[in-house]
């Protein structure tokens, strides 16, 4: 009798644990994507509202340099990133900070790295898998690919200079103003994207570097790099 109860309880426990694991996989593969997509579109529509309410000051005639962006607020989105290589319609909000909560809503800008278009290294992290898989196709990135960002006043077009570079998580030098492993040797306006590698793991990181190619005020419309 007691053996029967023991065996039955054990098999019920196994069934329960198995069901839990399946549910967790569904959560990771499907539900985080649903949540992240809706969070990302909330962020983007919030940004668009904000940009529509405070129209960018008319830029002075033929500005040579874009205006310096205002300081970013932790946890708030401040720009939208477009990467044609990752998909024609691929666009994600960029939030200030790389905390777990920021990365669940979009891409995260490493606080402490420079602002958009400014001298230094504008560095952004994103999920490879789960939460909408923003950087799933990260290994497809190639030198010359455009990474376009829009904030309230300006379109910034960065061009990649490297193929994805694999490194270890402790290699914080990759987001230095002039990263030692990058092809850059002198200070400039650079871009760094980071994500995890392997796809489902966290033992390594993938990095790409780029430089600022051009900027244009939003009044002049979308940059041509997005049409390619």
């Amino acid at each position: 009798m007691s053996v029967r109860i023991l065996v039955r309880s054990f098999s019920e426990l196994c069934l329960t644990v198995g069901t839990l694991i399946v549910l967790f996989v569904v959560y990771l593969l499907y539900w985080t994507g649903v949540k992240a997509d809706s969070a990302a579109s909330d962020q983007i529509s919030g940004l668009q509202q904000q940009w529509a309410q405070s129209p960018a000051p008319r830029p002075p005639a033929a500005p040579r340099q874009p205006p310096v962006p205002a300081a970013y607020t932790e946890g708030r989105s401040f720009a939208v990133m477009y990467v044609p290589r990752l998909g024609k319609d691929w666009h994600k909000p960029v939030l200030e900070g790389t905390a777990v909560k920021d990365l669940q809503k979009g891409l995260g800008h490493y606080d402490g790295t420079t602002r958009l278009g400014q001298p230094g290294n504008f560095s952004v992290a994103g999920h490879r898998r789960t939460y909408g898989d923003p950087f799933k196709d990260f290994p497809e990135l190639r030198p010359g690919d455009a990474v376009v960002l829009r904030d309230d006043t300006t379109w910034y077009t960065y061009r990649l200079d490297t193929r994805p570079f694999r490194t270890v998580p402790s290699d914080v030098g990759v987001i230095d103003p002039v990263p030692a492993e990058s092809p850059f040797r002198s200070p400039g306006r650079y871009l760094t994207l980071t994500t995890c590698d392997p796809e489902w793991g966290s033992s390594h990181r993938l990095i790409v570097w780029g430089h600022l190619d051009s900027t244009q005020p939003v009044a002049q419309g979308r940059p041509t790099a997005l049409d390619g």
Partner: protein, 59 residues
């Protein structure tokens, strides 16, 4: 365990089945809303940044 729950539910088989279904839905909701979001950052899929501000890291 499940047999014990079944025996302690009130009503006939239909009512019991309905209550069981409701309980399953509540449990799934609690898991998706509270338990999994808590557990998920503890797993490694999420680490996409280079470690900043860790004790030994420079910067």
């Amino acid at each position: 365990m499940y047999g014990w729950i079944w025996r302690h539910l009130p009503g006939n088989a239909w009512l019991r089945a309905f209550i069981s279904l409701a309980m399953v839905l509540v449990i799934v909701y609690v898991l998706f809303q509270y338990v999994f979001p808590w557990a998920e950052p503890l797993l490694p899929f999420n680490d996409v940044t280079v470690d900043q501000g860790m004790g030994t890291a420079v910067r």
